[in-house]
Symmetry: C2
Subunit: 448 residues, 2 copies
Amino acid sequence: MRLSRFFLPILRDDPKEAEIVSHRLMLRTGMIRQESAGIYSWLPMGFRVLKRIEQIVREEQNRSGALEVLMPTIQPAELWRRSGRYDDYGLEMLRIKDRHEREMLYGPTNEEMITDIFRQGVQSYKDLPRNLYHIQWKFRDEIRPRFGVMRGREFLMKDAYSFDISVEGARHSYNKMFIAYLKTFARMGLTAIPMRADTGPIGGDLSHEFLILAPTGESAVFFDRGYLDLDWTATEVDFDDVEGLRHRIEDFTKLYAATDEIHDEKEFDARVPKDRQVTGRGIEVGHIFFFGTKYSKPLGCHVQGPDGSKVDVQSGSYGIGVSRLVGAIIEASHDETGIIWPEPVAPFQVGLINVKQSDGTSDAACDKIYGALQAKGVEVLYHDLDERPGGKFATMDLIGLPWQIIVGPRGLASGLVEVKNRKTGAREEVSPEDAIARFKRIESGWHG
Amino acid sequence: MRLSRFFLPILRDDPKEAEIVSHRLMLRTGMIRQESAGIYSWLPMGFRVLKRIEQIVREEQNRSGALEVLMPTIQPAELWRRSGRYDDYGLEMLRIKDRHEREMLYGPTNEEMITDIFRQGVQSYKDLPRNLYHIQWKFRDEIRPRFGVMRGREFLMKDAYSFDISVEGARHSYNKMFIAYLKTFARMGLTAIPMRADTGPIGGDLSHEFLILAPTGESAVFFDRGYLDLDWTATEVDFDDVEGLRHRIEDFTKLYAATDEIHDEKEFDARVPKDRQVTGRGIEVGHIFFFGTKYSKPLGCHVQGPDGSKVDVQSGSYGIGVSRLVGAIIEASHDETGIIWPEPVAPFQVGLINVKQSDGTSDAACDKIYGALQAKGVEVLYHDLDERPGGKFATMDLIGLPWQIIVGPRGLASGLVEVKNRKTGAREEVSPEDAIARFKRIESGWHG
């Protein structure tokens, strides 16, 4: 993509309304624009990051065997009356009347609807287990939305729902999502520590939150340093291996980890030696629940068991805050000059900087590098505007693409261009051919 | 995908509420489920088709140089007051009050919001031209929603918006979208005839609808048979070639074509010889508009021109009904036994039928074919349930995957399996290896 054909409305100054770094940087880099309190448009740069995160989430859900569906944003109130949650939800639920005065609402979550879909579509225990998920916009009418996309009113969530014939089966479905979440966050370059959690309004008796560490996190977290030594990246998983999954999850749950909500100082001291105690702050990016028959019973979601008897379906639900992750990743990965995108979610892999626009040699070298990388499927943002080098460097550091290729007449005189790593700041002088050879298309994930 | 792990709630009988074939077939094949009048959930099979259509639309928008963004579903009423459309829109607009009694609405379209985004992000004529689009759910509170996803209340639309410094520039932007639309529909296996149209509530003075022919179409259409002889598939287009685009569009606009709204019988007879006159019915799947400064003026969207003067931006908008296309394609492509998916939008390329489940030889042959096709990236639905062959054949014909591979003990005894083309009904006996060799991954488009 040539910047001369892109839409990147960068702000010269820091926006005053932004209280936290991700909000500030997302507004400054023209990733988002606020349309109303807690409601944002995603401009091209922000949209690309959102899509990459969404696609990683999708791929790992699919790998675990979950099936993608898409439920509408607008739901009938009647469905929520049947579960008893219509009144419980309070003012956070955006209630709507249509032209025929029918009571509707903008879905804040989908336990009721998916349970009803499953009830209608399934008769026998042979049709279980299943896990259905969707990635859809939700609305929660927060009284005081803040922190940009970290706590918006209209937000994108992945929510999955598992259906099993037995509690043991449901436990395995829970474990599959647990492992899928570890893989999902690891692929984004995040360490998201699973912590036992309260179940809150979703209900149920087993729940974990996944929190990434960031100084601006909303929760205080307390955990065993041992978490940081675990291998988060193991990718080959047999999701049908019940025992294998259980063992792997043990490694991620046997050490102490808790948010302030349920932290117990005594237990912390008893289980974790002082020199392994870590306290910090965390941002919740995922939350999983097992709640058994909480929704299947009132909504009549049952199947015929092997012996012909009627069995209420055992369920859990599993959320990932897709739009929230965009902000959370920035909170965890930035420096004083701007964002530092982990490669798998970066809007472009490479930023190409022409230090002297309209200089014949520089333009030709840039065109060659740009064309060759595009041809290989490497996503490049070519800064081809007629601006001073200092401004171009600052912009590229601000938007945080993982790699920069810097091309100017002085280097070219010796046949060299510069390759800079945004994260480490390391620079290397190489030939244009070497610069091209270094990058390849990222096969998995979303391509814009 | 193994059917034993999929979610495909096929209905035994035709749903009574469905008046047209696409609605009937989408409900029967478990592609969608109605949640409320005109509001649908997309179940796994329907979701896959929706995504494939969306991705083809996206790829062709990107190729034309348009930039993807994502605006929220909920918009502030204030923005629509500035354009004067808040009151005009009537009861079709879903109006909402949030917890602070602020007036909001569920966006039926986005001219106002995108114009305001552009106004804020752009200062100079050098930042033009641009085309920004998004693919987002819209809501229009139809008084009597019907025909399933063809006329729903919550529907998925691609809407693009072009911004130019001059009328001539805007005309070229219009032409780019015109060509992108021809390519988009052709890639889906559709003949979508462009017809000059009224501009309606969007306003402006130049507009074309794209209609696909189907006996159940909502409009009567009258056109020159010459359209059917045009080459719709030409793919290599230089979108910067102003004259080239104009010439190509001439071929698609010089022949007579009109919907009943503006059809003129006298002109039809004068311009089209009797034996080339075609009358039929059509379904609108795209609509493009040039409306100049209709929104830029009231919303203050202007830039500094080359001479330093203030210039109001010239705009157009360009819609494709993404969710509607799912139904429209079925209307145009089905027979008495079910859907016939054009390959580029099919939920799976191949349906694999095991005629004798639990027969060792058949199971082994199916596993081998399934594994080999999966490894090549060919998307296969393997019917591995313990059902009678007749039922499996009927299901596969009903859901309409383009190809079937039929595996049974009798054929295998001679080392053969059957490959059936759903559209033509042609069958061929080949070795399992040949069956595998015939299919390859579709590189472009969406992969589930």
